[in-house]
């Protein structure tokens, strides 16, 4: 049940992308009960996830970026 802070951070990150298993989440919960630093990190990390969702960010795909670069290079 006991995990290190590094492991807790790893699980916490995976949890943001729903890639942490149920058992990992339980271990994280237990850890943040006794570790103030990880508790703070976990709260901030979760808040950051909701900020990213709220911002509805979009990116240009790598493929399109490469095409853009090629067009720009032609004019350089």
């Amino acid at each position: 049940m006991m995990i290190s802070c590094d492991e807790a951070a790893d699980i916490c990150n995976k949890k943001q992308y729903k890639e942490a298993s149920w058992w990992q989440v339980q271990k994280l919960r237990f850890h943040i009960l006794i570790c103030k630093t990880c508790n703070l990190y976990s709260t901030k990390n979760t808040k950051f996830t909701s900020l990213c969702e709220k911002a509805k960010l979009q990116v240009i795909s790598n493929e399109d970026k490469e095409a853009m670069k090629k067009e720009l290079e032609k004019k350089l």
Partner: protein
Amino acid sequence: MRPNKHMPAHELHPENWVDQYADYLFNYAITRVSDTEIAKDLVQETFFAGLKSAKNYKGDAAERTWLIAILKRKVIDHYRKINSKKGKAEVRMSYNSGDEDSGDWLEEKVADPFGKGGDDTIENRELGLAIQDCISKLPKKQSMVFSMKTIQGMSTEDICNELGINPSNLWVMIHRARTALMGCMNQNWF
């Protein structure tokens, strides 16, 4: 070192524009034109226009600020272009019925870059640009992995295959990126 009076404070590096500013400009454009293809075209046109007028760049403004100023003009040009007589009539009908002095809808839209959205929309746009600004400060590979995972929502396996890394590397990069981004984001957002 004291800044030299004759030396520009900023310089242009067009070879880095796509990597450093494309996503930021894209998010700026998309909130104003609401169409990904048009937004992409506007970003490309901004880069071309930037190259064309590079000789006029005095170095007073940061490179990105200068590019944003060009993009703003491109957005205005875009609305002017679609503000053909036919388009204008169609738009006005839905904008304001019966009032002759209602003004030019498109000009108003351009004059107010945040359109007619409420406070929440404005905040979300500012938030998006703040996050994008922080992402652009990350090392290239970290920003790539973070964007693919968080914004594009790609699976861990697909990202690993595309970038030739293993899942442990990916999670280390995600951790570093998220920690840096949380540090970069203004405390007001939390």
